[in-house]
């Protein structure tokens, strides 16, 4: 009798938790609603990778950045991202110091890199697929284009609304005046932005 009671209670409690878990709203794969979004730096990543000696790929990220997204298909969409170059992080402090110095990013002279879009292209479903704009880096400004892949959008568990994207591009650091040691560290740099933004 006691055993039956215990089993019943156990089953009821388990069903209660399972039902509760199923009730938590999940983010569905849907087209993000138009509006203004603020990039969430805690759930976004600014990543880069570059060839080392032509032998392997070295990678890193920037840890300090902020930005905004205005999604307005057919109207004036805009994406802005500002990154503090001194926040470069390749997991080895000595290399990070080298990257911050005059050999590469020269972060004391150029503390900010910034992207401002001039054009956002959408597909038939109203999702952004290409981003073109001006990238200011190392004292130089060049036009770059990102291919954009929408990841998801929807309500979050805290009552907000979020949208996520992945954007990729390849730049040449020599185009931005970083020409030192091109034989050792590649000229082409793959940039990946994994962005989660919160609707304002």
């Amino acid at each position: 009798m006691k055993q039956m009671k215990a089993i019943t209670v156990y089953t009821l409690v388990t069903l209660l938790f399972v039902w509760g878990g199923l009730s938590v709203p999940t983010v569905e794969a849907e087209t993000a609603a138009a509006g203004t979004y603020k990039i969430d730096p805690e759930h976004s990543f600014v990543l880069f990778s570059v060839s080392h000696l032509g032998i392997s790929i070295s990678a890193g990220r920037f840890n300090d950045f902020e930005g905004n997204i205005i999604l307005a298909p057919g109207k004036n969409s805009k994406v802005e991202l500002t990154v503090k170059t001194a926040s470069v992080d390749t997991y080895i402090e000595k290399r990070d110091k080298h990257l911050r110095g005059p050999d590469f990013l020269d972060t004391k002279q150029f503390p900010i890199m910034r992207f401002v879009s001039s054009k956002v292209e959408y597909n038939a479903a109203g999702e952004p697929v290409k981003l073109t704009g001006e990238l200011f880096l190392h004292g130089k400004t060049n036009t770059v284009s990102f291919t954009v892949k929408p990841i998801g959008a929807g309500k979050d568990p805290w009552g907000g609304y979020r949208a996520g994207y992945q954007a990729n591009t390849v730049i040449k650091r020599s185009d931005f005046g970083m020409k030192y040691m091109l034989g050792g560290v590649g000229d082409e740099i793959d940039i990946t932005l994994n962005i989660e933004a919160i609707k304002q």
Partner: protein
């Protein structure tokens, strides 16, 4: 071109060969015509500088870009100092003015983004040290090229170990250019054929610029820089005696290298132990 070959060519062979050629053409004892050796040193160094750092824009977009222009400007400083009736007071004023302007040009980005009283104090101390070194090389007697070449080599090592191969290369090229003048003097049969005192000012101007950029932008630690400076001052004093011969030179080089050695060892022992580099 192979990276290591490019490094050796740009930082060592090119400036050394050019300086050997130009030293034979421009090396001159005494004050008269000393500007020629200053020009020769600059011409021996500038091709390497442009190869390593790239051709700067006008006006230079980076602090490094000002170094070549400041080097050229040092010829004018040299000419002013070399004017008749140029006493110690006038020399001091000229050096303080010229080096202050150089510090401001090189430090503009830092002053713009991160000015502080501490930074101003640090730059004031650097100015005092730089002017002091300039006054020291303006002493009319003594060999300048050997101690300055050793100093350049010390700074090059400190920069390379401290986090900037670019600064290391630039300083190494200057050391090689000075080394060419030193070598020419040592093997020449003409007595007292020195890098003229005023011409040495060109090398001190260039060295100060590169060290400042390395210290402020590449964050090369201060302690090894101070130890190398101490060695440099010791060397300039020791080489004031008119000795010749390899024994004299070897002993003095060894003596001035001791403080440099300690500074570099400190740097190696306190640096990141990762395998990077």
């Amino acid at each position: 071109m192979n990276m290591q070959l490019e490094l050796i060519l740009s930082s060592l062979l090119l400036p050394l060969v050019l300086s050997l050629i130009l030293a034979s053409l421009t090396g001159h004892r005494g004050r008269k015509g000393g500007w020629k050796s200053g020009l020769g040193l600059l011409l021996a160094y500038l091709p390497s500088y442009l190869w390593i750092a790239g051709i700067p824009s006008l006006p230079p977009a980076r602090a490094l870009g000002w170094i070549g222009f400041i080097g050229i400007g040092s010829l004018a400083v040299m000419a002013v100092i070399n004017l008749p009736k140029s006493g110690p007071g006038k020399r001091l004023i000229v050096l303080v003015s010229a080096f202050s302007a150089s510090i401001i040009l090189l430090s503009l980005p830092i002053l713009r983004y991160g000015f502080s009283l501490l930074l101003a104090a640090e730059l004031a101390v650097f100015l005092a040290v730089w002017v002091g070194l300039g006054l020291l090389v303006l002493q009319p007697t003594g060999n300048k090229s050997v101690p300055l070449s050793i100093t350049g080599a010390g700074f090059a090592l400190a920069a390379a170990l401290g986090g900037s191969l670019l600064i290391g290369q630039l300083t190494g090229a200057l050391a090689a250019a000075l080394g060419g003048f030193a070598l020419h003097e040592l093997i020449s049969r003409k007595e007292r054929l020195t890098l003229n005192a005023e011409a040495s000012l060109v090398s001190v101007s260039l060295l100060g610029c590169i060290v400042l950029v390395g210290w402020q932008y590449a964050e090369i630690p201060s302690l090894p820089l101070i130890s190398i400076f101490v060695g440099s001052v010791a060397g300039l004093f020791m080489f004031k005696r008119h000795g010749r011969g390899w024994r004299f030179i070897s002993l003095n080089v060894l003596a001035m290298s001791i403080p440099m050695f300690f500074g570099l060892v400190w740097m190696v022992m306190t640096s990141d132990s990762s395998g990077y580099y």
